[in-house]
């Protein structure tokens, strides 16, 4: 890290830049409410003021901390490549050209777009006047013209992100940075720019992603959507992991900051050396890279109806949801399938009548299908028309149509799936105790659950002693597979209210806490309200054999069928990473997971003692970063419930 970067990093970590900002609202709520999203955006454009960090070459941060609620869409990957190749001016001219033959709604769309883009140009000009020298020079060309250097490309990208924030986009992802930036990286390399200079620029850009993040928190601070995808396989089966991908990883390693969150696309052809490099990042303890397996994700997306070219171009949304850049406006997180709730319902409503376990399983399936219908019915589409937001999707530009009209190539929705292990464990316990051993009657089980096991200690213990998902035990793992199969099949033959596909997933988001609060005691021995496992992971209370068993339990099912995203999450004690032996073996473990057909993996280097001490003495752990679900955050800034869940997860320790 150069001295410049160190100084910039310091300004950001200490938050000194925050004193430059204004807390005055740009619009009062009432004023916001009577404007449409584009009018709100224009008001923000007019009011925003430039400010810079010392020695800044990237710039573009929010001056006003109180952004009025504009568009509000989120979790998609914008068409950065379009703006990088054409410049905003190119798109502007294209729209003007198209308007010659447009009429009605399209013409109106075009007029608004032109007006908005002119606002953007004016804003950037205003910005340029005050910008430090090097940034000013870049702004002579971008964003109007296409960038001619890596630096100019980074500034244009930064502008895209900043504008989306101004438009109140909830999660702004970065997509396949190493792919769309590569031509500009190449330009610099051909010009003789050194690796170190490119690394420094990349670091500066990464730093800019850590400014303002206090303004963009989702459910918790850190949940801001800034995920970046590196590497991958192209349609010809070739790896596209390039020199720039490597530089991004180096930059993240040196900076040791939350953003951007790195996702690595890998496959059976990925060399162990890359997993080894990724392990360097894991060792930092920030919970990334998250690995996505092309060999599973791509066929999975194709099976969902994505064209092969688009499937090969997938990236991730804010957390883990596989989405296609530029052309899709999928909403991959509209709802959540609560597996334990469904099994619990079957226990309460159907178990007493079930003559066999198979009959009971049929009832679970029926309950799950009912739940799918209810979820589909309850989906609320909040797409607020926004011409400016639409400009980040190629089909909207091509057809002069708002994204909310459904003009994008894909408008699918996705359901998370939470508590899969708790649910499979509950089914296994029912199978073993009620049907195989006949040691517990359906009535007694129901009563015990209703009373949250009060007065049923030994019954609860016998449920706890039943096989648990994560120990490579087919007895229960097959039931996890059964639930996923039911979920997958149920959604395969259903469509949402707009007639689009519904993608089943294995992610939990915050629902491992939120949904769990609403579920009473379950047949796996879990007490009422107790949290589920995070995403695609064992229940937090399960006694586990170790990481090899966990991986096998969670790779048995054909994951192409349940491909909305949601990683297996494993906690590995930080001492494992202390030397080359440990590092290489973690890399081998990741590779083995992929080879066995896992779809997504996220490892945490964790030390429970550190976390417990951090709860007691937060002042000593200001920089402590942990992975929460699909994102990483500062431990101190998390609500206690999220802190405790991380502490409660099994950490695999090696001696």
């Amino acid at each position: 890290m150069t001295e410049r970067i160190k100084r910039l990093r310091e300004q950001i970590v200490n938050g000194t830049y925050q004193k430059n900002r204004s807390h005055k609202p740009i619009l009062q709520d009432a004023e916001t409410n009577c404007r449409n999203a584009d009018e709100v955006f224009l008001a923000v454009l007019q009011e925003e003021q430039p400010y810079f960090l010392e020695g800044d070459r990237i710039g573009f941060y929010m001056y006003h901390t109180k952004r009025p609620k504009g568009c509000g869409a989120g979790n998609f990957i914008p068409n950065y490549g379009t703006y990088l190749t054409k410049g905003f001016g190119g798109v502007y001219k294209e729209i003007k050209e198209k308007m010659k033959s447009a009429s009605g709604e399209e013409k109106k769309f075009g007029e608004t777009a032109i007006h908005l883009l002119e606002g953007v140009f004016e804003y950037c000009n205003r910005f340029k006047e005050k910008a430090p020298k090097e940034l000013k020079k870049a702004l002579e060309r971008v964003p109007y013209h296409a960038p001619q250097s890596y630096h100019e490309a980074l500034v244009l990208l930064r502008i895209c992100i900043h504008l989306q924030r101004m438009n109140y986009t909830v999660h702004v992802t970065l997509g396949r940075f190493d792919q769309y930036m590569y031509p500009f990286y190449k330009m610099d390399v051909q010009r003789g720019v050194s690796h170190d200079a490119i690394l420094e620029l990349t670091e500066e850009f990464f730093l800019s992603l850590n400014v303002d993040t206090d303004l963009y928190s989702g459910v918790q601070k850190g949940d801001n959507g800034q995920s970046m995808v590196l590497g991958g396989t192209d349609i010809n089966g070739n790896s596209v992991f390039n020199e720039l991908s490597r530089i991004c990883m180096e930059a993240s390693l040196e900076l040791n900051l939350i953003d951007p969150k790195i996702n690595l696309r890998v496959s059976k052809n990925t060399p162990i050396e890359l997993f080894r490099f990724g392990t360097e990042l894991t060792k930092q303890g920030m919970g990334f890279p998250q690995y996505c397996n092309d060999d599973v994700v791509i066929p999975g997306l194709i099976a969902l109806g994505y064209e092969p070219e688009d499937a090969h171009n997938y990236g991730v949304a804010a957390c883990w949801e596989y989405i296609v850049p530029d052309v899709s406006h999928d909403i991959p997180n509209v709802s959540v399938m609560n597996f334990p709730k469904v099994v619990n319902r079957a226990v309460h409503e159907n178990l007493a009548e079930a003559k066999s376990f198979e009959a009971f399983a049929e009832c679970v399936k029926m309950q799950l299908e009912k739940e799918c219908d209810a979820l589909i019915e309850s989906v609320v589409y909040e797409d607020k028309p926004s011409v400016f937001h639409s400009l980040f999707f190629d089909p909207c530009i091509a057809h002069l149509k708002d994204y909310a009209s459904g003009v994008c190539k894909y408008n699918n929705i996705g359901f998370h799936g939470v508590g899969i292990a708790n649910a499979a464990d509950a089914m296994a316990a029912v199978k073993k105790t009620v049907f195989c051993e006949k040691s517990i009657s359906p009535e007694t089980l129901k009563e015990a659950l209703d009373k949250n096991f009060e007065g049923f200690d030994s019954l609860r213990q016998s449920l706890i002693d039943c096989p648990k998902m994560g120990n490579n035990d087919d007895f229960v793992d097959e039931l996890g597979g059964f639930l996923m199969e039911c979920f997958s099949n149920a959604l395969a033959c259903r469509r949402d209210k707009r007639g689009n596909r519904i993608r089943p997933g294995t992610g939990s988001a915050m629902f491992y806490l939120w949904s769990a609060e609403k579920v009473g005691a379950t047949a796996d021995g879990r007490l009422a309200q107790q949290a589920f496992g995070c995403s695609f992971s064992p229940a937090i209370t399960s006694k586990l054999n170790g990481p090899l068993s966990v991986i096998q339990s969670f790779t048995k099912f054909d994951m192409t069928k349940i491909i909305n995203g949601g990683p297996l999450t494993m906690e590995i004690h930080d001492t494992t990473f202390r030397n080359e032996f440990g590092m290489m073996k973690v890399a081998q473990l990741v590779k083995a997971f992929m080879d066995m057909g896992g779809h997504q993996l996220q490892l945490n280097a964790i030390n429970r003692d550190t976390l417990l001490d951090a709860q007691k003495h937060p002042e000593n752990y200001k920089g402590l970063i942990v992975r929460v679900w699909g994102w990483s955050g500062y431990f101190n800034e998390l609500d206690i419930g999220y802190q405790n869940h991380i502490i409660a997860r099994t950490e695999f320790q090696v001696s």
């Binding site: 170790g546 032996f581 073996k585 081998q588 083995a592």
Partner: protein, 284 residues
């Protein structure tokens, strides 16, 4: 042969017990009494009740349950279920070779892709050599086998087990006979005879040196070890510095930690001495 093996832990993904991704089997019972041992569970060959002190509510449920079952307050099997915070467990489980190997085979795919396998550790695994041999019969040729040993056993047993292993992690603690005896109880004549056999067998092996302050990290002992390794032309060894948390587990098995050295003293890491003598020392 229906040898039962007494195991106190099976660890998947044990990264410091040999090449590749491995599962380590920790066999219960040891014939040494190193006072720095961080695994007191491994010392006794008996099945033990282990109670973790952290989080104990002092509610007495464990003692009550024991009293009910045995008439004594001494913790027993019944205490395990009685503890509301699940702090009590039983250490030591008997396996047949078949049942253990079934479990070990389950991770076969990891061993194959990573060049890993199974490691028998302990305790002193050679105290259960019949069991290891019974397992080796089932695993040999299919799984890479490693042994982690302090080498204190009858030469014929050592030779027999060695012939079934692919890799050995051999502890070298102290070289001088009287000091080895005093601190570990081992007989240097036997240990170094077995070490000699190992080196000459042509098998893959690694030397493991626990660095204990004032005991094994002394100038004299380091010089002895270096001389020993140089004599064999060994150019690589691994050192495990004393773990200051080593004492933590003693109360769990109802013992008091009584190290016969000063555990607060800093460990000396003799990297310089080793490298000057052409031996790479890897610190684990």
């Amino acid at each position: 042969m229906n040898a039962l093996g007494r195991v106190f832990s099976i660890e998947e993904f044990s990264v410091f017990d040999g090449p590749g991704i491995r599962t380590s089997v920790f066999l219960k019972g040891c014939n040494l009494h190193c006072s720095w041992c961080h695994n007191p569970e491994g010392q006794s060959k008996d099945i033990q009740i282990v109670k973790s002190p952290n989080g104990c509510l002092n509610c007495g449920a464990c003692k009550k349950a024991a009293l009910l079952l045995t008439g004594k307050e001494e913790l027993c099997e019944a205490s395990v279920a009685a503890c509301p915070n699940k702090l009590i467990r039983i250490s030591g489980e008997d396996y047949t070779a078949e049942s253990l190997c079934d479990r070990l085979f389950k991770n076969q795919q990891f061993y194959e892709t990573s060049g890993g396998g199974v490691t028998f550790s302990g305790g002193e695994p050679l105290m259960q050599s019949d069991f290891i041999l019974a397992c080796a019969k089932l695993l040999r040729g299919k799984v890479h086998l490693a042994l982690q040993t302090a080498g204190m056993c009858k030469p014929e047993i050592f030779d027999r087990v060695l012939s079934e292993m692919d890799y050995v992690l051999f502890d070298i603690k102290l070289v001088r006979e009287e000091r080895l005896k005093r601190y570990t109880g081992a007989d240097a004549n036997i240990v170094y005879r077995n070490f000699d056999t190992l080196v000459k067998s042509g098998k893959d092996f690694v030397v493991r040196i626990p660095l204990i302050p004032g005991v094994t990290d002394t100038k004299e002992n380091i010089a002895d070890i270096i001389a020993c390794l140089k004599g064999y032309g060994i150019t690589y060894a691994e050192a495990m510095p004393y773990n200051k948390m080593a004492g933590a587990k003693y109360t769990m098995v109802g013992r008091t930690y009584q190290p016969d050295f000063d555990p607060a003293q800093d460990v000396y890491i003799p990297e310089k001495e080793f490298s000057e003598n052409g031996i790479e020392l890897c610190i684990l």
